[in-house]
Amino acid sequence: SLYNNRYAGDQVFRITPGNDEEVQVLKKVLSHMKVDFWQPNSVSMIHPNNTVDVHVKHSLTQSLHAHLKQRHIDYRVFISNLQKEIEKQTGHRSTRKRR
């Protein structure tokens, strides 16, 4: 499989902190996790009511779910399995099409 299956089970969270307090909590949580910021580009750019998209390793997804639920911060998972999405994007169809 593509990229040696390294993204299997990884997820992308979309988090919307509603106020300054939630922003501070979110900054603290995400600073201690090795996540990949999709939008904005870094933890320092998180602002109230601006969406934060982060790519989270499969080993950390449960912990982030727990943190966000515990603090009632609004979020949803917009890509539930990154590897599958990657396979869909450039996996089998396009190779066949290209050939």
Partner: protein, 338 residues
């Protein structure tokens, strides 16, 4: 061959470069391919000049120059006097500054194909290519793009090494010499917004900056293609102030997003990058603006958070179709006075 090339799939770097050679070979009067330097890992930085040639190639320019001198002398003595043709204005478009934003290179290829295919039957495109040159760089960050195909799909930065840290790469959109490494950028080599050891430390950035400096008299617009957010941004990024020609740029942006909307009804937000998105220093549009390019834009293409960087290939066509309308609107604006 060109007719079989599929513009509705993502292509790895090698295929894009082969496609560039093919376009250069098959359209000598509209396309001229050249390199502006090498990347950190030694790959060529190819650019396509797209526009009705009319003696613009180097040999022709030289020949034309000599011919003009003779002609001028002859006509000057006979008072026939005929004004020589002014050099064409130019629009620079770069794609793929950030490696994982694959829709960028797909758009650059799409735009070249559209420009060439519609030159004959679309009067707007014909006028644009007759009066303007487009310098189109399908993959700015060639090393990062290749790495995103082979190893890390979500790589963002270049692939330069840092002697003190194990992390690699600089954010090529934080490496320009304008308010370098201040708000919105990071000094830390492991951060995704790392500004680099010094401005233009990245050979890719240095090569583009050098080209734009060299052609600054002719380049009237700078466009950088990014993803994802569905926005059209213009200076400033590094501060909350209005640019001197705000009215003209704002109206150009308005016209562009209106043209984009006309394709599929997709709404783009537009405005100064600092207020529309966030403050960030060292960006290419601020550098271009400060270096005399009065129209500098950054597109953030689809989507707004459903697929993110993994925009499906089935959306390449509509995304590139609508964005082509926006770019044509910006370029057309250059031919009018504002």
């Amino acid at each position: 061959s060109e007719s079989e090339y599929d513009y509705e799939v993502y292509h790895p770097l090698q295929e894009i470069q082969s496609w560039m050679f093919e376009m250069n070979r098959t359209h000598p009067y509209l396309v001229h391919m050249f390199s502006i330097g090498k990347s950190y890992e030694g790959r060529p930085l190819y650019v396509l000049q797209v526009g009705q040639m009319g003696g613009e190639t180097v040999e022709n320019v030289t020949r034309l120059f000599v011919f003009r001198i003779i002609l001028k002398t002859v006509f000057a003595s006979c008072q026939l006097g005929k004004r020589s043709r002014p050099q064409k204005k130019a629009v620079w478009i770069d794609c793929g500054v950030h490696a994982r934003e694959w829709i960028g290179p797909a758009f650059c290829q799409w735009f070249v194909k559209e420009a060439i295919n519609s030159y004959k039957y679309d009067s707007v495109m014909r006028r644009l290519l007759n009066q303007l040159n487009f310098y189109i760089m399908p993959v700015f960050n060639v090393d990062g793009y290749h790495f995103s195909w082979t190893t890390d799909r979500f790589w963002r930065k270049t692939r330069s090494k840092n002697h003190k840290f194990h992390c690699r790469g600089v954010d090529a959109n934080r490496n320009w010499k304008v308010k370098w490494c201040e708000e919105g950028a990071s000094y830390h080599p492991c951060d995704d917004t790392y500004c680099g050891p010094f401005p233009e430390s990245e050979p890719e950035v240095k090569a583009v900056a050098k080209f734009l400096r060299k052609h600054k008299k002719r380049v009237k617009a700078y466009i950088s293609i990014h993803a994802y957010a569905q926005m059209l941004l213009y200076p400033y990024s590094y501060k909350y102030a209005a640019i001197p020609n705000f009215d003209c740029v704002e109206s150009a942006a308005h016209n562009a997003v209106t043209a984009l909307y006309s394709a599929y009804g997709v709404k783009y937000r537009y405005g100064p990058a600092s207020t529309t998105l966030y403050v960030s220093s060292g960006s290419s549009i601020d550098w271009a603006y400060r270096n005399g390019i009065r129209y500098a834009f950054a597109f953030e293409l689809r989507d707004t958070g459903y697929y993110g960087f993994l925009l499906p290939e089935t959306l390449i066509n509509p995304t590139c179709t609508e964005t082509t309308r926006a770019v044509k609107a910006i370029a057309s604006g250059l031919l009018k006075k504002c």
